[in-house]
């Protein structure tokens, strides 16, 4: 076991700890029967599904009926991509080299089956982002869909979704933005972002628990996605077909009441702290970590100006996996190492070698950042002296 207190810097995977109100909401949700609308005659308790929808809509400046819940972001992306392809078979789809396997794998599977043709837009090496012009240039007569991340889980770069949407909407191309790493870190005003659909997950910066996520889809664009899940919605039960209204169009089966109670509480915490304050704190702490790491000549930082609270680095001569092991065992600093489910990003930034990622949350303290920076610097210094003495 580590000799040091746990310093958890793997929040881009799943945030920990959770705010106390999230733990309390989970306990409360489990202490009473579920009172979800349409599935019980009881009215005594909270309808967590409606509460979470209301909170999510508020956070994203969206309408409640535009919010659909799923099991996580990957689930939401699969549902949206598959539903779009059912409506627009054999179309051409664009994605980007910055995207996660939750986007790349479904799209490559559909391409392999011959259901779509696929183009991957490369990363602009100067900016570390996807140029909206490059996206527009990749459009063909058959292009109907682009799936792109909003914020990157490896470099913390934020994409210009608004400009990409502006250019691609001229060709009536549907844009799905993956907000897994942006929701809860930066202000996501979905009325102005321009994405037709925006995917989020509950268990990262929104401070919910695993097993929750969803998407916001503009109601006027919802018919571009065929429902691909069918079942009980607690509404229009005499109808043997899936309701086409939102959000039932995409929600079938009993919801994760406990998870949605946690999500609602997590969003309440973000509202209480204020998204701008959370962002400012994360940027200040990220800048501190980067400035500390830059002091060591043998540390390579993959993006010195992340726009969300993610720092990826490598130490010359050491495998990322070894660095992660040493940080965890000797210093109690938990990071994530390897390819981070984003193989194309790593191909572009480090030849597919992988990196060590430190990712912060609104609950990361300055003291934790100081201890983590000292630990990484010490490992780098020892690595340098070992290399020199070898």
């Amino acid at each position: 076991m580590p000799e040091h207190p746990l310093i958890y810097l793997n929040n881009a995977a799943t945030t920990w700890p959770k705010p106390p109100e999230v733990t309390e909401a989970v306990q409360e949700a489990l202490s009473l029967p579920a009172f979800g609308t349409g599935r019980t005659a009881g009215t005594e308790g909270t309808d967590y599904v409606s509460l979470a929808r209301e909170k999510t809509a508020q956070l994203f400046n969206a309408e409640e009926d535009e919010i659909c819940f799923t099991h996580n972001a990957t689930d939401a992306l699969n549902l949206l991509i598959r539903g779009f392809i059912e409506k627009h078979p054999h179309c051409h789809v664009l994605t980007t080299a910055l995207d996660h396997n939750s986007v790349l794998r479904p799209l490559h599977e559909f391409a392999k089956r011959g259901d779509i043709t696929l183009s991957v837009i490369p990363i602009d090496k100067k900016t570390g982002t996807i140029s909206p012009k490059a996206a527009a240039d990749a459009v063909t007569d058959e292009t109907k869909l682009i799936v792109m991340n909003h914020a990157g889980n490896v470099t913390g770069a934020v994409q210009d979704v608004r400009e990409t949407a502006r250019l691609l909407h001229k060709e009536d191309i549907f844009l799905i933005a993956d907000g897994s790493q942006s929701a809860g870190h930066i202000r996501c005003d979905l009325k102005s972002l321009g994405a037709d659909a925006f995917v989020f997950t509950g268990h990262k910066a929104l401070f919910g628990i695993t097993g929750t996520g969803g998407f916001r889809i503009q109601e006027s664009r919802s018919e571009e996605i065929e429902p691909v899940r069918f079942g009980g919605t607690g509404t229009l039960s005499g109808n043997l077909y899936q309701p086409r209204e939102m959000p039932e169009r995409f929600e079938a089966g009993t919801q994760n009441f406990t998870g949605l109670a946690a999500l609602a509480a997590g969003i309440s915490y973000i509202e209480k702290r204020g998204i701008d304050e959370i962002h400012e704190q994360g940027m200040r702490q990220s800048a501190f970590l980067i400035s500390e790491l830059k002091e060591e000549e043998n540390i390579v930082i993959h993006n010195e100006h992340p726009k969300v609270h993610v720092i990826s680095f490598a130490i010359d001569g050491l495998c990322p996996d070894d660095i992660g092991f040493i940080l965890s065992r000797k210093y109690g600093v938990v990071t994530r190492t390897g390819l981070h489910c984003a193989p194309l990003v790593h191909e572009a930034i480090d030849g597919g070698h992988g990196s060590v990622r430190m990712s912060l949350s609104a609950l990361t303290t300055d003291e934790e950042c100081e201890a983590a920076a000292a630990a990484v610097r010490e490992v780098a210094e020892r690595a340098a002296s070992s290399v020199r003495s070898a």
Partner: protein, 125 residues
């Protein structure tokens, strides 16, 4: 030295299977010196009492700190069942000083060779 028990295990993102074992005595630099007969050893000697990573390509890797009584082993999944006996043997047959003298190395090399043949046959199927 003996592997006492696996106290933790999980599937890793790189496709390997990780097991953390406790040991009946602390790891030493000499133990990793001995392992060099069977694979590649990388060391960060300036970190604490020394950090070591042994890799037997395609079979398993062993990570640990000198002085600690636990190691992390990552198995290549498709050969895990075949090579875990050899892993135990590597620990069991180590004697302090064998890093230099290689007391039981010839016997282990024979086992290693036989196992390599078995794996080759299994993969060729």
């Amino acid at each position: 030295m003996r592997l006492l028990q696996s106290v933790q295990h999980k599937a890793c993102a790189d496709g390997t299977y990780m097991k953390e074992y406790t040991l009946d005595e602390p790891l030493s630099a000499d133990f990793f010196e001995y392992l060099k007969h069977f694979g590649r050893v990388e060391a960060l000697e300036a970190l604490g009492d020394g950090y070591y990573n042994f890799t037997k390509e395609g079979w398993f890797s062993i990570k640990g700190f000198a002085g600690d009584t636990s190691v992390e082993v990552r198995f290549t999944r498709d050969v895990m069942d075949m090579v875990s006996g050899f892993l135990r043997m590597l620990f069991l047959r180590y004697r302090p000083g064998s890093g230099q003298n290689g007391a039981d190395i010839a016997g282990l090399k024979e086992k290693e060779k036989a196992l390599e043949e078995q794996i080759k046959r299994m993969k060729g199927r």
